[in-house]
């Protein structure tokens, strides 16, 4: 069960890694599948969680964002106001979208594209399969709303795609607004 999983199960200390920014080539690279039992991958899983945790507002982080072309990402949409279904904190390897429906448009930002945001249409009902690091069993996650959006954003990273590849129109990319 994915909800029983916690980063403590990885049994390694995660390190905070540097987040790379576009146009870094790794962000446009289709990542390789990973062996979820590989100790290096287990360490990477812990690092993703640790890096996500120290990044304000960050609800997900994919391996390419820390410079590693591996199909792995961490996610945690707990307490986000747009979250409905929530599976807590987890890391997923080799994730694939198996079902997606009910597209909705919303504005996304990304730590790897800090100067822009963009309107992107994404499914609000989603089923994804993948493997938890340190295990071999395939898990199926069925979710909706914000967790569905975040999952699709991270799976895109694993396929070398940024939200910029999916923007909803020629005027759907905006300069980032940061204000105090």
């Amino acid at each position: 069960m994915i909800t029983d999983w916690s980063p403590a199960r990885l049994d390694v200390q995660g390190a905070v890694l540097e987040v790379v920014r576009a146009p870094h080539p790794v962000l446009a690279t289709e990542s390789a599948e990973v062996d979820p039992l590989d100790p290096e991958m287990i360490q990477l899983a812990a690092d993703l969680v640790a890096t996500m945790r120290v990044s304000p507002g960050c609800v997900g982080l994919a391996a390419p964002q820390v410079g590693v072309a591996a199909q792995m990402f961490s996610l945690d949409v707990t307490n986000h106001p747009k979250t409905r279904t929530c599976h807590g904190v987890f890391v997923l390897c080799n994730a694939v979208v198996v079902e997606a429906s009910r597209n909705e448009k919303a504005r996304e930002g990304c730590m790897s594209v800090p100067d822009f945001t963009g309107d992107v249409k994404r499914a609000t009902r989603l089923t994804v399969t993948g493997v938890l690091p340190g295990t071999t069993d395939e898990v199926t996650i069925t979710t909706d709303a914000f967790e569905a959006r975040a999952l699709q954003h991270e799976i895109d990273h694993c396929n070398g795609q940024l939200f910029l590849d999916r923007v909803a129109g020629a005027h759907a990319v905006y300069p980032r607004k940061t204000y105090q």
Binding site: G57, R107, G109, T117, R149, A150, H153, E154, Y179
Partner: protein, 168 residues
Amino acid sequence: MSQLAVTVIGPDRPGIIADVTEALVGTGVNLEDSTMTLLRGHFAMMIVCAGPFDEVKSALEPLRGELVITVRKMGPEHEHAPIGAPYMLSVHGADRPGIVAAVTRMIAAAGGTITDLATRLSGGLYVLTAEVELPPTAELEMLDRALEITAEELGVGVTLRPAESDEL
């Protein structure tokens, strides 16, 4: 090298962008921010780029005639300091003079600034969409009410909604 503002407008046909940008590339210009769109059958381009003024001017010379082209030197770049949260403003209704002026005046009066705006007229329907930044001090309820009153006077509908992005 100075920062230049290049504007191009003319009847639309395939290849305008390719012609203009090819001419610019030959002068070593790097296109920076630009917006290009069709305005009632005229193709309009606004480009801010860094490049040599005289070369850019002469490179675009052969395209003049069919296209109305201006090249001007710009002052130093101004960093746009965001003043507050982003909102999306939309207005639509029967066309009549004064819609843009009245609605944008309300935004300005609330201390807001418009960072992008487009209008379209099709048949009798007028549509305005704008990206707006409002300062944290703006009285949202007052602004909503003021926009509503203005919209009523103009006979149009207006909505102002938050356009915050989600960090993923």
